[in-house]
Each structure stands twice: as C-alpha cells, then as structure tokens.
C-alpha cells in the first residue's frame, strides 16, 4: 500500500496528561478515513501533530514519506475545529488571500462551491451566520489541491441538507490519490462515504479497519458499533 501518512510510536504528553500514547498508524492514498472517538480521546491532538502545530513527545509522523516540515505542510490541507476565518475580510477578499498564500489553491473550484451554496461573496465574514462561516471555511480547505485533507469536525454546525452537499463535495472533489481524514461525532452521517475508520480512545488506537469489514464482522453499522464500544 502506498502510504500518505504514517505514525510510528507517536506519543504526546501535555504537562502531566498523556494525550496520545504509542500510536502506530498507516494510512494509504485515496482513502476517506473517519477518525472517531469520544470527547477528549486525542483526535484533535493527532490532527494538530500532522500539521506541525504540535510536536511529538516521542515517536514520529511521516507525510508521504517525509517528516513534518515545509514540504509536508504543502501537502496537507487543514480545517481546524475552531473559526479561523479573518472576520474583517469579505469572502471575495479572502479568496484572493488564500490564492496568494497557497500555490495549490483552485479558485474556480472555490467559486463553484460558493455559488452552489448561495454564499454572497461581497459580505464581510463577520456578518455571516455561524453555519455559513463553517461552510466557507470548509470550501476554503477543500479548494486546495492537496494530498491529505485533515478535517476536524467539519460538519458539526451545518444543517442535514448541507451536510449531504458537503459529503458529496468531498467524494466528487478529492482526487484519486488524495486522502481525507475526518474527525467527527456524526458517524451515521459520514459512514457511507468512509472507506476506513479509526477508533481512538484515551489516547490509544482501539480499532483501525474498513467500514465494510466492521459491518460484516459485527453485523451492525459503525455508528451502532461505536455506541457499543464506547458505552458510558
């Protein structure tokens, strides 16, 4: 398997709390992977490590065979779980900003998605609703021609119809060799588009398998299986 991301004995410790403990993962190209786990299980920590926003305490991450650095950042498009949009800009201005900033930003793709979601480019970001801002943020991320998309809670704040649109956008836009990693709690909504899932619990990988294998072995959906595994 051609790997886009590999974690070797990855460990992250915050002052006196272990966020990730000895995580070993291999993620292939051309996959859509669900990163699933209860609150505080280490999902966001893992995503931030792959972006170089955090550095590992032990172990390493390779992106397309290379350690985290300038080259890896060119290949990874990251959607944070918090609002990162420049509030004072209009969407139009921000498109220009992104096009300047990222060599791989596809303006045409961004314009098309904004149009089909009927987002007014002339309005300032701060005047857009919370859900609309989330849509804009996702459009900005997905408009890069990246090899790895790291989406941290991309659909939490949008309505179900838009969720479907976003998932369709992900399926139709990611290229054959690109991998998308989605962290989310809305498993039932994303399950159909995932090829693989990673269950992460208390900083450890509890399970890493394909969706079809889980359904075949357990005779239930990933959503149902998650509820059983992480029953409170």
């Amino acid at each position: 398997m051609d790997l886009i991301m590999e974690c070797k004995a990855l460990t992250k410790v915050y002052t006196n709390q272990i966020a990730l403990s000895n995580v070993n993962l291999q993620i292939g190209k051309g996959r859509i992977v669900g990163l699933l786990g209860p609150n505080g299980s280490g999902k966001t920590t893992l995503i931030k490590l792959t972006n170089g926003l955090l550095t590992p305490t032990h172990g390493e991450i390779l992106i397309d065979g290379e350690p985290i650095g300038v080259n890896s950042k060119k290949k990874v498009a990251y959607l944070p779980d918090h609002n990162f949009l420049p509030q004072w800009m209009t969407t139009q201005q921000m498109l220009g900003f992104f096009a300047d900033f990222y060599e791989d930003f596809n303006m045409q793709k961004a314009e098309e998605m904004l149009k089909s979601l009927e987002i007014d480019k002339k309005r300032k970001i701060k005047t857009l609703s919370k859900g609309t801002q989330e849509k804009v943020a996702l459009i900005m991320t997905m408009s890069r021609e990246s090899q790895l998309y790291m989406l941290d809670e991309p659909i939490a704040g949008v309505d179900p119809a838009t969720r479907d649109y976003i998932l369709r956008t992900i399926i139709s836009n990611y290229s054959e060799n690109a991998t998308v990693i989605i962290s989310t709690h809305l498993i039932a909504d994303v399950e159909k588009v995932l090829s693989d899932v990673i269950f992460i619990n208390k900083g450890e990988v509890a399970l890493c398998d394909t969706v079809d294998n889980i359904r075949q072995k357990e005779g239930m959906s990933v959503d149902e299986y998650f509820r059983e595994v992480f029953k409170c």
């Binding site: 996959r31 479907d164 369709r168 159909k192 588009v193 090829s195 969706v211 359904r215 959906s221 959503d223």
Partner: protein, 119 residues
C-alpha cells in the same frame, strides 16, 4: 442522499444488490454503458472505493464487463441476466419461506398464504 442503506450489511453488498436489481429490471439496458465509478459513487453518496468494489463483484457474475480504457457496460447476453435474476428470486423466496416456517406453517399453508395475497 438518494440511496438507502440498512445497518446490518456491508455497504458494498447492498450496492451489489441495488445495481444488480436495476440491471434485472432493465433500468440499465442490455449493452448500455454504465456511469463512471465516481459519478455512481456521488449519486449513491458512497465512497468511490466501495463503489469500485461493488462493481468488481458484479463483474464476476458476468452481467457487466469492462472495455479497457473505456468503461463498464451491461452484457448483451440476456441469458446471463436471467440466471442472476433466478438466483435473486430464489434467494428472496427462500428467506420468505424460512420466516413462515419459523411461524410453524407447513408447505401447503405457505402456498395457501401466498395465493391468498396474490389475488
């Protein structure tokens, strides 16, 4: 998204059933070209890898085939589709008979129950 999937079976298997049924009922005509994997995946709202796997599975039954560098086509040979249809008919019927047997019905009673509702 437009296609419905149940929770208890792998999605690729359900795709196999849906697309095979569409071929049996003639939604895809004999010799017709199928949409690309990507387009079918978007339509169904599923992962393209899953769609790919389902199509490969259907191909093994012989009712669709790949033209190299061109795409997938429905077979021109109706006998292949007919034999798959028979398999599906038998499968559904066996399941149905099984559930009536679980209710304690014998063969005559099962036949009677079917006849009654077919009128």
């Amino acid at each position: 998204m437009s296609w419905y999937f149940s929770n208890d079976k792998p999605i690729f298997q359900q795709l196999v059933d849906i697309i095979t049924t569409d071929i049996i009922i003639g939604k895809y005509k004999l010799g017709a070209k199928l949409d690309t994997v990507r387009d079918l995946a978007v339509e169904a709202g599923v992962n393209p890898n899953t769609m790919q796997r389902a199509l490969a599975e259907i191909e093994e039954t012989g009712i669709i085939y790949t033209k190299r560098g061109d795409g997938r086509y429905v077979t021109e040979d109706y006998s292949k589709i007919a034999s798959i249809k028979e398999k599906y008919v038998n499968g559904y019927t066996e399941k149905y008979i099984e559930s009536l047997k679980n209710l304690g019905l014998n063969n005559d009673e099962i036949a009677e129950a079917v006849k009654k509702l077919l009128k």
